[in-house]
C-alpha cells in the first residue's frame, strides 16, 4: 500500500490544524483525512482509495467518525478542514464497528482460496481481515460464484469471485492510462468487471491493474501460480528498457526473477510502469552466455577459461591497434559505457566509438554533444506536468517513452496543456494526450517547424528518429532558441542518455568535452593518469563510418558490445563489416548471430547481476543495486579492465565504487562545447504513383531482443498494419483491409492496409513487428522512398 510522504511544511498559510484521535495535526489544505491520518502513523483500512486516483468512496472501508456529522464518513473522500475533530478506529467505537461491518460484507462472497491465490501473503484484504475482521463467518448461505478466470488479454486474467468491486482497475484504465477497455457491468451483487467481446485489454499499462488490485482478482498470465510472495526477495531496481527511467521492484526466488513491479517514485514514474518494463524479463534466461568462447585456428568457437580469453582478446586488439572500431548498443549502464569510452581512447587509442545502433547521423552527434551532453534537468517530469505548451518532434510518447506519455496525459487531463505534434498522423497515443497533429511528411519536419507558430517558452521534446531526416535537429535548435523554449531529447533506450554523458561518441569525451579541445583532453587525461596529448584529438568515425571503414579494410578489428545485428540501421552492412575485419570481440549477455561470428565472445552481466546506473531522458541518474548475487557474471567494465591490464595498461575501474568515484571527478566542462549543427534541410522526397515515402517507428511492444520469450506480453502487441491516407491508397488502387506490398531494392514487406486520416504520399509501418521488419527486410529508414503495390492473398 502506498503511503504519501510529502513532509514539506513551509507555507503556514496553506496549513490547517485539526484533531485526529485526540492529537493535533497540521497538514496542507486539501489533505484528505485518510492521508493526514497516515502522516501521523494511523493506517485507516481501505480498498478503493489509491493516492493517485480520484476518490470514489465506494468500498466504505475507511469510515471514520467526524464530530458534528451524524453518520460515519469515508476518510478517503473528505479533506481535513480547520478545527475538524476526527476519530478513527483507534479511538472511535463507531468507526471500528463500521469498518468491521464492511469487512464482514466483503468476505461473505469472497472465496476461501487464499492458499492458492497469488495475492495471499501480500493481500490488503487478507491483512485487513486480520485487523478488522471476525474469526468466524456468520454468513451461511450460498456464495455468489462466477466462471473463472476470464482472459481480459493474453496477459491479464480476471477472477470475478475474488473481486471486491473497488474499481481501482477501471479507474486506473480510464483516468491514468486512457484505455477504458474494462468497465464495471451489471449491478448489485452481480456487479463485475467486464470487457467488450473482441476488444481485449490491450493497454500498454494493463499490468498496473494487477499491482493495484487489493485482492487476487487480477493476475498476470506470466506470474499466476508461479510463487508465493513470502518466498520472494525484493530488490529496488531501475528498468533497463526505455529512457523513462522507472523505479522497479524486482522479486526473485532461488536466483530467478519471478516478477517485476512498479516502485513508487513521485518524481519519475509515480506509482506506475509500462507492461514492457513489468513483464519483459524472460530474456534473462534465454540464450544466456555464461562461458567465454574463442575461435580456434580451425575456425571453431570453443569454450575458454577467462584468463585465456582475455589474453586472446588483448593480443587481437594489440595487433590491430589504431585500427579498431567500437560499436555499442543503447542499453549499457552509465558505468559500462564510460569504461568503453575510456578503453577506446586509452587502450585502442581511437575515437572510433559510437553507441547509436539505430538510425543516426553526423548532425545528430553534433546535436548530442552541443545540446544534450551536460544538460541534465533542462526539462523534468514535473516540468511536463505543469507545462503550457509542448511541441513533439518525431516522438511518439506512448510508444517510445511511456512514462513521459503518462505525465503528458496527466497534464492533458487537467486541461491546461497544449500539445502539438509534428507527425504523419494522429496516433492513438497522441489522441489520448489531446495533441494537435501537424501532419508532416518525413523529410519536411524542418520546413514545417520553421513555418509553425510556436509559443514562447514552450517545451520541445525531440525523439531519436529526428536523426533520420537531414536538417531536422538543426531546425529544432533554431526554433528552440528563437522561442526561448526548453529542448529535451528523448531516446528510446535506457543507456543512450548516459552514453552521451560519458562520451561514447566519436567527437565527445566524458562530461560534454569535445575531443578537439586540448584543454578538454588535458582535463580528462589528468583523471585518467595520462597526458592530454595521449588522447586522440581527431574526431573519430561514427557508426556508419566505422562500418564503412571496416568494409573498406581501413579497420582491422571491431569491439562490439550489447547490440543485436537486427537492431542495426543496416544489418546487412554490419554483417559485411564483421566479415571484412580480422578480429571481432563481442561482449553481451545473449548468444546471437554476432557472438557466433566473434573471435572472442565474452559473457557479461545483465542488469540483475550487477550494480549500475541509467541516466533517464531528464538526465536524472537512476542507480540500482545488484539483485542476484550468486552468479559470477562480470560487468563490461570489469572485463575491459582485465583486457586493459593484459595490454599492460594502468586502467583502474576494478570495482564499481572505484568507477563511480572516477566518474564523479569529471565535474562540469566550462570550455567551448561542440558547435551546434546547422545542416540545411532538403525537402521530402518526390513521389509518384507506385511509390510513397516511408514512415516508421518502433512500437513499445514489438519483436525486440529483450522481449523474447514472453508470449503473453507479445499477445498484447498492437495490430500489425500499414497506414496510408485515403488519397494515397486510391491513387495506388489500394483498398482498406487488403494486403499491400512495400518494397525496395533490398526486399519487401507484405502487410494489411488500414486507411486512416494522415498526410498524403506516405506509408507508415511498424519497425519491428511480425513480418514488418523494416531494418532487416528493407534496410530503409524514415523518409526513404519505397514502392507500394497491391498484395495478393
Amino acid at each position: 500500500m502506498t503511503l504519501t510522504s510529502d513532509n514539506k511544511q513551509t507555507n503556514t498559510e496553506n496549513q490547517i490544524t485539526a484533531t485526529i484521535d485526540g492529537i493535533q495535526v497540521q497538514v496542507p489544505k486539501g489533505t484528505l483525512i485518510i492521508r493526514a491520518a497516515e502522516r501521523m502513523g494511523t493506517f485507516v483500512p481501505r480498498f478503493c482509495d489509491h493516492p493517485s486516483l480520484a476518490p470514489v468512496a465506494a468500498c466504505r472501508m475507511c469510515l471514520v467518525e467526524i464530530e458534528g456529522m451524524p453518520k460515519p464518513q469515508p476518510s478517503c473522500a473528505i479533506p481535513l478542514t480547520e478545527g475538524m475533530v476526527v476519530k478513527t478506529q483507534m479511538t472511535s467505537e463507531v468507526a471500528e464497528k463500521a469498518q468491521a461491518g464492511v469487512m464482514e460484507f466483503l468476505l461473505i462472497n469472497h472465496p476461501l482460496d487464499c492458499p492458492v491465490c497469488d495475492k495471499g501473503g501480500e493481500c490488503p484484504l487478507q491483512n485487513q481481515a486480520m485487523t478488522a475482521g471476525r474469526a468466524e463467518s456468520r454468513f451461511d448461505i450460498e456464495k455468489r460464484t462466477f466462471p473463472k478466470p476470464i482472459e481480459l488479454s493474453t496477459e491479464i486474467l480476471l477472477d470475478r469471485e475474488r473481486c471486491v468491486e473497488c474499481a481501482r482497475c477501471t479507474r486506473f484504465s480510464e483516468e491514468i492510462a486512457g484505455d477504458p477497455f474494462i468497465e464495471l457491468l451489471e449491478r448489485g451483487a452481480k456487479q463485475q468487471v467486464g470487457i467488450a467481446t473482441d476488444e481485449p485489454f490491450n493497454s500498454y499499462f494493463s499490468g498496473n491493474t494487477v499491482q493495484i488490485c487489493p485482492v487476487g482478482a487480477l493476475t498476470s498470465s506470466s506470474y499466476r501460480f508461479r510463487s508465493r510472495p513470502f518466498d520472494l526477495v525484493s530488490v529496488p531496481t531501475t528498468c533497463e528498457h526505455c529512457a523513462s527511467g522507472c523505479s522497479l521492484r524486482t522479486d526473485y526466488r532461488r536466483e530467478t526473477v519471478m516478477r517485476r513491479l512498479a516502485w513508487e517514485d513521485p518524481a519519475v514514474n509515480e506509482d506506475w510502469n509500462c507492461d514492457k518494463g513489468r513483464f519483459a524479463f524472460s530474456y534473462l534466461k534465454t540464450n544466456r552466455l555464461t562461458q567465454p568462447k574463442v575461435r580456434t585456428k580451425d575456425g571453431n568457437q570453443v569454450d575458454a577459461l577467462w584468463p585465456d580469453a582475455i589474453d586472446f582478446a588483448a593480443k587481437g586488439l594489440k595487433d590491430a591497434k589504431g585500427k579498431v572500431g567500437v560499436l555499442l548498443g543503447g542499453r549499457l549502464t552509465l558505468e559500462d559505457a564510460y569504461a568503453y569510452s575510456k578503453f577506446a581512447r586509452l587502450a585502442l587509442e581511437t575515437n572510433d566509438i559510437d553507441f547509436r545502433n539505430r538510425v543516426n547521423s553526423a548532425e545528430e552527434q553534433d546535436f548530442l554533444g552541443s545540446v544534450v551532453a551536460g544538460s541534465a534537468g533542462t526539462v523534468t517530469y514535473a516540468d511536463l506536468e505543469k507545462a503550457q505548451n509542448v511541441l513533439l518532434v518525431n516522438f511518439e510518447p506512448e510508444e517510445e517513452s511511456p512514462i513521459v506519455f503518462l505525465r503528458l496525459r496527466k497534464a492533458a487531463e487537467k486541461g491546461q496543456i497544449n500539445i502539438i505534434a509534428i507527425a504523419p498522423y494522429l496516433s492513438r497515443g497522441l489522441e489520448k494526450i489531446n495533441a494537435e497533429v501537424v501532419a508532416t511528411k518525413p523529410g519536411d519536419e524542418a520546413k514545417v517547424l520553421r513555418g509553425l507558430e510556436i509559443a514562447q517558452d514552450s517545451i520541445i521534446l525531440v525523439g531519436e528518429r529526428a536523426a533520420a531526416t537531414e536538417g531536422t535537429l538543426s531546425a529544432v535548435i533554431e526554433v528552440a532558441e528563437k522561442t526561448n523554449s526548453k529542448l529535451s531529447w528523448i531516446p528510446r533506450r535506457a543507456g543512450e542518455r548516459g552514453a552521451v554523458e560519458v562520451g561514447a561518441l566519436p567527437n565527445l569525451l566524458p562530461g560534454a568535452r569535445p575531443v578537439t579541445e586540448s584543454s578538454a583532453r588535458s582535463e580528462v587525461g589528468a583523471i585518467w593518469g595520462v597526458n592530454g596529448s595521449d588522447i586522440p584529438s581527431k574526431p573519430g568515425r561514427n557508426h556508419a563510418e566505422i562500418i564503412q571503414a571496416a568494409i573498406n579494410g581501413e579497420l582491422k578489428a571491431l569491439v562490439i558490445a550489447g547490440l543485436d545485428v537486427l537492431d542495426a540501421p543496416d544489418p546487412q552492412a554490419l554483417g559485411l563489416a564483421i566479415n571484412s575485419v580480422d578480429f571481432v570481440i563481442t561482449l553481451g549477455i545473449q548468444e546471437n548471430s554476432l557472438t557466433r561470428y566473434a573471435n572472442v565472445s565474452l559473457p557479461v552481466a545483465p542488469v540483475t547481476e550487477k550494480s549500475g546506473t541509467f541516466i533517464n531522458w531528464e538526465g536524472r541518474p537512476r542507480p540500482f543495486g545488484r539483485a542476484i548475487t550468486s552468479t559470477n557474471a562480470l560487468t563490461d567494465a570489469r572485463v575491459l579492465a582485465m583486457i586493459a591490464e593484459s595490454l599492460g595498461l594502468d586502467f583502474g575501474l576494478q570495482t564499481i565504487e572505484e568507477l563511480r568515484q572516477e566518474l564523479s571527478s569529471f565535474g562540469s566542462w566550462n570550455g567551448n562545447k561542440l558547435v551546434k549543427p546547422t545542416v540545411t534541410a532538403k525537402d521530402s522526397a518526390k513521389t509518384s504513383v507506385g511509390n510513397a515515402i516511408l514512415s516508421t517507428w518502433n512500437l513499445l511492444l514489438d519483436d525486440g531482443a529483450l522481449q523474447k520469450g514472453e508470449e503473453h506480453l507479445a499477445g498484447t502487441q498492437r495490430p500489425v498494419v500499414a497506414h496510408m491516407s485515403e488519397k494515397t491508397a486510391t491513387d495506388n488502387k489500394l483498398e482498406n483491409e487488403e494486403k499491400v506490398i512495400i518494397s525496395n531494392s533490398r526486399g519487401s514487406i507484405t502487410i494489411k492496409l488500414e486507411i486512416i486520416e494522415m498526410v498524403n504520399d506516405v506509408v507508415w509501418i511498424p519497425s519491428n513487428n511480425h513480418d514488418s521488419k523494416v531494418k532487416s527486410k528493407l534496410g530503409a529508414k524514415e523518409g526513404d522512398v519505397v514502392t507500394i503495390k497491391k498484395g495478393s492473398f
Binding site: R60, M61, G101, F105, I141, E183, G188, A189, Q191
Partner: protein, 437 residues
C-alpha cells in the same frame, strides 16, 4: 369519523374531464396563466414566492423547494439545468405517473416557471422507461406547449428561452437517486456520484442543476397563481399545502386522493372506502417501502413530514400501502428486500453485499427454515448498512426489517417453524382472488 378533512383537488381537479391531458382543457381551467405572470416577475421574485409558500419536495426527502432553487449560483457564466425526476419506482408509490398521465401540463408549466426562476434554458424530464404511454403523453404535452409558444424561443415575448427534453430511463431504481439520474442522463451507467460537489454547483454536465420531483414542480403553477398564503392555508406550518396521497393495498377503493398535508391516515382510508370486506388493517407504510411500517395504532397521526418523523417513520412519497390481517409480514419484508437486492447498484459494499445477505436469510424465514439467532444477524446486518452506504438506497434497504421486528417479532419467530404460505395462505391475501375473504 367526524369533521373529516376535505379533499383539496388542485392537481386532480379536472382529471375527470375526458381530455384532461390536452392543453385546451388545461388552459380552460386557468392553465399557463401562472407562467405568464411569472415571466412578468423577476426570477428572484418567483423564487421568493415559492420560498414563502413553504413547498417541500414531494419525492420523499421533503427538502424546501424554494431554498433548493436559491442554491443555484447566479452570474457564474455556466448554463443552468432543470431536471425533473419522474423516475417513480418506489414500491408502493404511484402518484407521479398518474399525474403525468392525467395532467401533464401542470408539470410542463411548472418546469417553465422553475426554469425561469433558476435561469435555466434547458430542462430534462427523466421518466422511468417502463411507462411508454406516460412518456408519450408527456412528449405530446411538451409538443403542444411548444406549438403554443409556451416553450421554446422567446416564450410569450419575454425573451426567455427554454428547451425541454423528455428522456426515457432504462428501468433502474437507482436512477431515482438524483446524482445517479444525472449520470444516466449523461449517458453513463446510473450510479450515485460522490458529493460534494452537489448538483446545485456541479450537476448535469458539471453545471449548476436543480433536480425536482414531478409532483413538486406540478404544484408550482397553483402557488404562483394563488399566492403563497393560499398554499399555506392548507396543511401545517412545517408541511404546508396539498399533496397527492395514493392509497393502495387491501382497501375497497384504492386511488389518488389529493388532500391537505396533515390529513390523517384514517381519513384517507375512509376516502379509500375502508379496508376490504371482512378484513382488518394489520400494518401500513406511509410512503413507499423505504419508510418504516406503522400499525393500526398510528392511524390517526396527521400525514405530515414532522408528525410521521416523530412516530419513527417518514412521509416519503405520501403513498400509503395498507395491508390486512391476511398478509405475512415476513413475506412482505422479503419481497421488499428482494427488490432492494435487485436494484442495488453495486457501487458500495454495504448495500451490495448487505442486501444479498439479508435477502438470502429472509428467504429461509419465508420458507419456515430460519433460525432464531439469525434474526439478530439480520438486525446487525441492517445496522451495518444503515448510515454506512453510499446513498439512501442502502438506508432504505435497511429499513423494512427493523421496522417489522418492532411490531411483529413473534411472526418472525414463528417463521423458524412454519412457512409464510402455511401461516398466511396466498389465496387469502391476494387482491385479485376474493375467495379467501
Amino acid at each position: 369519523m367526524q369533521n373529516k378533512m376535505a379533499l383539496t383537488p388542485v392537481l386532480t381537479a379536472h382529471w375527470d374531464d375526458p381530455k384532461s391531458f390536452e392543453i385546451e382543457t388545461y388552459k380552460k381551467h386557468g392553465g399557463y396563466v401562472a407562467l405568464k405572470n411569472s415571466l412578468k416577475m423577476t426570477p428572484d421574485e418567483v423564487i421568493g414566492i415559492v420560498k414563502d409558500s413553504g413547498l417541500r419536495g414531494r419525492g420523499g426527502a421533503g427538502f424546501p423547494t424554494g431554498m433548493k432553487w436559491s442554491f443555484v449560483p447566479q452570474n457564474d457564466g455556466k448554463p443552468h439545468y432543470l431536471v425533473v425526476n419522474a423516475d417513480e419506482s418506489e414500491p408502493g408509490a404511484c402518484k407521479d405517473i398518474p399525474l403525468m398521465l392525467a395532467n401533464p401540463h401542470s408539470l410542463v408549466e411548472g418546469i417553465a416557471i422553475a426554469s425561469y426562476a433558476i435561469r435555466a434554458n434547458h430542462a430534462f424530464i427523466y421518466i422511468r422507461g417502463e411507462v411508454p404511454h406516460v412518456i408519450r403523453r408527456v412528449m405530446n404535452a411538451v409538443e403542444q406547449a411548444y406549438a403554443e409558444g409556451l416553450l421554446g424561443k422567446n416564450i410569450q415575448g419575454s425573451g426567455f428561452n427554454l428547451e425541454v427534453v423528455v428522456h426515457a430511463g432504462a428501468g433502474a431504481y437507482i436512477c431515482g437517486e438524483e446524482t445517479a439520474l444525472l449520470d444516466s442522463l449523461e449517458g453513463r451507467r446510473g450510479q450515485p456520484r460522490l458529493k460534494p460537489p452537489f448538483p446545485a454547483v456541479a450537476g448535469l454536465y458539471a453545471s449548476p442543476t436543480v433536480v425536482n420531483n414531478a409532483e413538486t414542480l406540478a404544484s408550482v403553477p397553483s402557488i404562483i397563481l394563488n399566492g403563497a398564503d393560499w398554499f399555506k392555508s392548507m396543511g401545517t406550518e412545517k408541511s404546508p399545502g396539498f399533496k397527492l396521497f395514493a392509497v393502495s393495498g387491501h382497501v375497497n377503493r384504492p386511488g389518488i386522493f389529493e388532500a391537505a398535508l396533515g390529513t390523517t391516515m384514517s381519513e384517507l382510508l375512509d376516502y379509500a372506502g375502508g379496508m376490504r370486506k371482512g378484513s382488518k388493517l394489520k400494518f401500513w407504510i406511509p410512503g413507499g417501502s423505504s419508510v418504516p411500517m406503522l400499525t393500526p395504532d398510528h392511524i390517526d397521526i396527521p400525514m405530515t413530514y414532522e408528525d410521521l418523523a416523530a412516530a419513527g417513520t417518514m412521509l416519503g412519497t405520501g403513498t400509503p400501502m395498507m395491508f390486512d390481517h391476511t398478509t405475512s409480514v415476513v413475506k412482505a419484508v422479503t419481497r421488499w428486500l428482494e427488490f432492494y437486492k435487485h436494484e442495488s447498484c453495486g457501487k458500495c459494499t454495504p448495500c451490495r453485499e448487505g442486501t444479498y445477505w439479508i435477502t438470502g436469510v429472509l428467504e429461509k424465514f419465508e420458507h419456515g427454515k430460519g433460525k432464531e439467532e439469525e434474526l439478530e444477524v439480520i438486525n446487525d446486518v441492517c445496522g451495518q448498512i444503515a448510515g454506512r452506504s453510499f446513498c439512501a438506497l442502502g438506508d432504505a434497504a435497511a429499513t423494512p426489517f427493523p421496522g417489522a421486528m418492532k411490531y411483529f417479532a413473534d411472526e418472525f419467530r414463528e417463521a423458524t417453524r412454519t412457512s409464510a404460505d402455511a401461516s398466511f395462505p396466498p389465496s387469502a391475501t391476494t387482491i385479485f382472488d376474493k375467495a379467501g375473504v
